[in-house]
């Protein structure tokens, strides 16, 4: 195609854009003219411009800050969907990165476990999986973060009074925890009108509270890490043995014997 042909083609294809460009050029020229008139033909020296910019940067935060904050608040309140749409890609990326990092850590742990795949240890895991009915993957996974008893509470049913407790690191008052646990259980029973069905587990953050009732009292075990079936069975067995040995008497104010038994049984776990 000849040079003239290309020119004609450009004329046809960009006719609309050319018109817009011309309009913008006219508007820009007009604006420059207005500015010149306002400045009385005088051009602003750089130092003066610098001063104006500095002044604006000092005044802006005070004058505009509250307005911008309020505007943002209103915008967020009134256009939640748009805000979510805007923020989602950023927050989503952050969450994605975090999950990826956590998966990487977990993968490394599993890799480490699998490296031992042909070791005696792994063979034992497979045998254990076969006899306990737990999957090998589950056992390998649990082995990377085994369940640990953080706290145990022996609590009087109903009153919520603490009979004995064991704690790895005492942070909050044990009596208050016992009371609140009992209140939560009472609330659940009332809310679902089911006095014969008791709350069995409560999960919070990385912890799990495992609860077992025995008429006059109940036992709450606070666990961290992953509780596999084998650990749960061992815990259940220990609780049952403990319950068999303990006899809670009404109005018994000497709780030392309960504490002794609690340590005796649960220290083994």
């Amino acid at each position: 195609m000849s040079r003239g042909g290309i020119h004609t083609l450009k004329e046809i294809l960009f006719e609309e854009e050319k018109e817009k460009y011309q309009t913008l050029s006219t508007q820009l020229s007009a604006l420059q003219g207005q500015m010149q008139t306002a400045l009385n033909g005088r051009e602003l020296p750089d130092s003066e411009l610098q001063q104006i910019v500095e002044k604006i940067s000092i005044i802006m935060p005070d004058k505009m800050g509250p307005v911008i904050t309020e505007t943002l608040k209103v915008q967020i309140r009134e256009q939640k969907d748009e805000v979510v749409q805007t923020l989602y890609p950023i927050i989503g990326q952050m969450i994605k990165k975090f999950i990826q990092r956590e998966i990487q850590v977990l993968t490394e742990k599993i890799d480490y476990q699998l490296e031992k795949a042909f070791s005696w240890e792994f063979l034992l895991v497979r045998i254990k999986a076969f006899f306990t009915g737990t999957s090998t993957a589950d056992l390998v996974l649990k082995a990377s973060d085994p369940a640990k008893i953080e706290e145990i509470f022996l609590i009087e049913e109903g009153s919520g009074l603490l009979l004995a407790s064991y704690s790895r690191n005492k942070t909050i008052d044990q009596d208050m925890i016992a009371g609140m646990l009992t209140a939560i259980r009472a609330f659940v029973e009332d809310a679902f009108s089911s006095s014969d069905q008791k709350l069995e587990t409560i999960s919070y953050d990385l912890f799990k509270i495992y609860v077992q009732s025995f008429g006059k009292f109940y036992i709450a075990v606070v666990l961290s890490g992953g509780m596999d079936t084998a650990f749960k069975n061992r815990l259940d067995d220990t609780i049952l043995k403990f319950v068999k040995d303990i006899s809670i008497k009404a109005d018994d104010e000497d709780h030392a014997q309960y504490l002794k038994l609690l340590n005796q049984y649960f220290n083994k776990l």
Binding site: E156, G158, S159, G160, A183, F187
Partner: protein, 160 residues
């Protein structure tokens, strides 16, 4: 040897149960009103006649009538503190019915009745309220820390 006693605080909403507990346990008073949801458990150890007593205080959410208090919260209670607001007659107008209802679930459990916010009334008004209420009443002010410790200690003695 330490012993523990479960004490419940009950009464209408906004009578100052939580403020009384805060004043007794933490020697604090807050003007802002935050309604209690469900129950809040607190603890204070007191020394009465040489015995160390752990008071486990169940601050129950205020209800317009004792019938509405969940029965499971009352189980094993060893002491009751019934609180009313001296400046709001509706909070003690049905005190008799409320006490009867509580006694249905907890026979022979020692109790004290507290007329709170006494700082809002003068002596004459308080005497008039006392004559209206057919029970022994102790007037308290959680705000000015008047008679708060005495009221809790009095109940502790009754429980021992």
């Amino acid at each position: 040897m330490e012993i523990s006693k479960k004490v419940i605080l009950t009464g209408h909403f906004g009578v100052g149960k939580t403020s009384l507990v805060q004043q007794f346990v933490k020697q604090k008073f807050s003007e802002s009103y935050l309604t209690t949801i469900g129950v809040k458990v607190d603890k204070k150890q007191v020394d009465v006649d040489g015995a160390k007593v752990n008071l486990i205080l169940w601050d129950l959410a205020g209800e317009s009538s004792a019938i509405k208090v969940p029965k499971s919260y009352l189980l094993g209670t060893q002491g009751i503190i019934y609180v009313f607001d001296v400046s709001r007659e509706e909070t003690f107008a049905y005190l008799d019915d409320d006490l009867l209802e509580l006694k249905k679930s907890m026979l022979e459990v020692p109790h004290v009745i507290l007329g709170n916010k006494s700082d809002l009334m003068n002596e004459e008004d308080l005497a008039s309220i006392k004559s209206k209420v057919p029970h022994e009443v102790a007037f308290t002010s959680a705000k000015e820390n008047t008679n708060v410790e005495e009221a809790f200690l009095n109940l502790t003695k009754m429980m021992l």
